[in-house]
């Protein structure tokens, strides 16, 4: 750019691998969208569950892996979203599918005061602060008698039937809703990371001090990520409990189900990468299919794997692959290409 007028340069975000990944991804999406025609009821349930974890993992990864906000209290928003859906459907007559979107908006709204409060805590103390918030939500919702208090409540049959008339049609609708919500979440995360904010976030991830000196407003960037993540997590929470049809404080604000598993997925797959949560989710469900009969031993094994990965390969499986192959399926960085060498990245 400085001296060689014969060469022109352009900045691109895609790589050959990412273009193949895009095509393969499209094929996979069509295949998965058509699941109601080729999958059984149980398979569809499993797929929907996989989607939910993929979305939660991608969001947690955005929060911890990029914004450096290590939360162990995301169950606060899963449960909040679930309870908002139940509340809106039961007392305000909101259609369940609309309630998912509204729950997301409410989740983002409640996250704003929460963030201003717990952003006063730094680093690891922030993590435990998020947990306190989740506890406050759990204890608070357990006090609301209209929503069943401590023992919880079921979604009335009339509301369930309002989703779609027949059972199979309802299952299809719920499957597609899960598919759409998760796809929207992934696109949101990917879009956010590729945008200007994404560059700021990556800068914060790499070095907070250097990012500040370059004029990145760290507090605002983190605040935005926290609120967006909370909103999306609440929408997913609403979806989860619409599928379960029953909610209780202990299930809604469960730290194991909605945070511990999610952390394992991201850590094992590779924190701070888009691909990590995808690999982690696949691995998590494979492990679960093989080991879930072991009960508590299964959780111990997960804990041991997570510690081993964190100590031996802190960037997880995808980080390990990326370091050796320079492969990026969902590139969020930018690379400078010279047109003469066409496509081969210079930097």
């Amino acid at each position: 750019m400085m001296d060689t007028p014969s060469r022109t340069f352009h900045v691109s975000q895609s790589t050959p691998a990412s273009r193949y990944a895009l095509i393969a991804g499209m094929v996979l999406l069509v295949f998965l969208a058509a699941a109601p025609w080729w999958a059984g009821r149980a398979d569809m349930r499993l797929l929907a569950e996989i989607y939910v974890y993929l979305a939660l993992a991608s969001l947690w990864n955005l929060l911890a892996g990029y914004a450096g906000l290590v939360s162990v209290g995301q169950q606060a928003f899963v449960g909040f979203g679930g309870y908002m859906l139940f509340g809106m459907c039961m007392f305000a007559g909101v259609p369940p599918l609309a309630a998912i979107v509204l729950a997301g908006l409410l989740g983002a709204a409640i996250a704003m005061p929460v963030a201003t409060l717990i952003f006063r805590l730094r680093g690891a103390y922030f993590a435990i602060g998020t947990w306190v918030i989740a506890e406050v939500f759990r204890l608070g919702f357990a006090q609301i008698q209209a929503l069943g208090g401590g023992s919880g409540t079921s979604l009335p049959v009339s509301i369930v039937k309002s989703i779609a008339s027949g059972r199979s049609l309802r299952e299809m609708t719920l499957y597609w809703t899960a598919f759409a919500v998760v796809l929207a979440t992934l696109i949101l995360v990917y879009w956010l990371l590729r945008s200007r904010r994404g560059i700021a976030l990556t800068a914060i991830r790499d070095n907070e001090l250097a990012a500040t000196s370059l004029g990145v407003d760290i507090w605002r960037t983190k605040f935005l990520v926290y609120v967006v993540t909370a909103g999306a997590t609440s929408a997913i929470g609403a979806l989860i409990f619409l599928q379960k049809l029953r909610i209780s404080p202990d299930a809604a604000f469960n730290v194991n189900d909605w945070t511990a598993y999610v952390i394992f997925i991201v850590v094992i797959g590779g924190i701070g990468t888009i691909e990590g949560p995808i690999i982690g989710t696949i691995l998590f469900f494979l492990l679960r299919e093989v080991l879930s009969d072991l009960g508590t031993t299964y959780l111990i094994i997960l804990g041991v794997i997570a510690i081993a990965v964190m100590l031996k390969a802190p960037k997880g499986i995808w980080g390990y692959i990326k370091d050796r192959t320079n492969l990026e399926l969902f590139p969020v960085g930018r690379r400078v290409n010279s047109d003469r060498t066409d496509g081969a990245p210079d930097t």
Binding site: A64, G68, V70, V72, L117, I118, R120, L121, R122, G123, A124, Y125, A127, I128, G129, W131, V132, E135, V136, L139, G140, A142, Q143, G150, V255, N256, A260, I263, V267, I271, T296, T297, L299, I300, L302, G303, V304, A306, I307, M310, L311, P314
Partner: protein, 288 residues
């Protein structure tokens, strides 16, 4: 009268919370590590107390003579083998490693001891009480816990400011690199700090087990109480931590007095109010 009683019992409960918090505060001060498994280690100590008292047939307070050195040894080994490797500039590895440890401990205890609530039997001392003027009565056991908490904090304070190891702790806390240049083996210093932390955890666990019933799932709750006491009192100030524990205990008891369902909620809300009004705690000592 009920209210005064609630406050007095809350102050005594605060002693137990200060015991939960002291070990947490100590290792944060020395190595900036927040141990997410801290609560589960407290419960592990309680179960160790249970094993010792039932197999040897001794009083839980006597069992401390075994549980404290055992937990300290576990702390030293844990730090040398696992936690030291996770320490660095990035806060994520130690956080996630101790989180993994928490899951392992919880499920390991569940596997070994089942989910049934257990209790340490301290015999007659559990029901003994001192009558105070005005119809108040103070249980001997809660009073003992409170006095022990005072002793533990005074002891930690002494170690920190009056001993060779305390100087090493403060040196590594101030600047790890320079401490290393001065010939301190920081890995060993950290391991000693963790041993000390788990020695306090052992005392906290045994007293918890005498005071209330416990099961493998309640560890995280104890971590949160300890954490709240640390933040309310102000980072790095051990006496502040005691006051933090007392504020938490009193808030919980007042909440319970209003409505039994509000006990824990009232404690958390007291914590959030302090966070909103005095983000660095009431008596902050160190910079983060």
């Amino acid at each position: 009268m009920d209210w005064i009683n609630a406050i007095v019992q809350g102050i005594l409960l605060g002693g137990l919370y200060a015991l939960f918090a002291a070990g947490l505060s100590l290792i944060f001060g020395v190595m900036r590590l927040v141990n997410i498994a801290h609560g589960d280690l407290i419960i592990m100590a309680a179960f160790l107390g249970l094993v010792v008292t039932t197999t040897l047939g001794i009083h839980p307070l006597l069992a401390l003579l075994l549980v404290v050195p055992l937990m300290a040894a576990i702390g030293y080994v844990l730090q040398r083998t696992i936690l030291n490797r996770s320490l660095g500039d990035d806060i994520l590895p130690p956080l996630l490693v101790t989180f993994g440890l928490s899951v392992i401990l919880q499920n390991g205890l569940l596997e070994l001891f089942s989910a049934d609530p257990q209790k340490l039997n301290a015999g007659a001392i559990e029901t003994m009480a001192l009558a105070l003027p005005g119809g108040l009565s103070i249980g001997v056991m809660p009073l003992l816990v409170f006095v022990v908490a005072l002793g533990v904090i005074a002891g930690l304070q002494f170690i920190f400011y009056r001993t060779h190891y305390g100087r090493a702790f403060r040196a590594t806390s101030d600047n790890q690199q320079v401490a290393q240049l001065m010939g301190l083996d920081t890995r060993h210093v950290f391991a000693v700090a963790m041993a000390l932390s788990l020695a306090v955890v052992a005392i906290a666990g045994v007293f918890l087990g005498i005071r209330t019933s416990f099961d493998p799932s309640i560890g995280p709750g104890r971590l949160i109480f300890g954490f709240e006491a640390v933040i309310i009192g102000g980072l790095g100030n051990l006496w502040g931590t005691l006051i933090g524990g007392i504020i938490l205990g009193v808030a919980q008891n007042i909440g319970a007095q209003i409505n039994p369902g509000w006990q824990l909620l009232a404690g958390h809300i007291a914590f959030l109010i302090v966070l909103a009004v005095r983000p660095r705690g009431l008596f902050p000592r160190i910079e983060e």
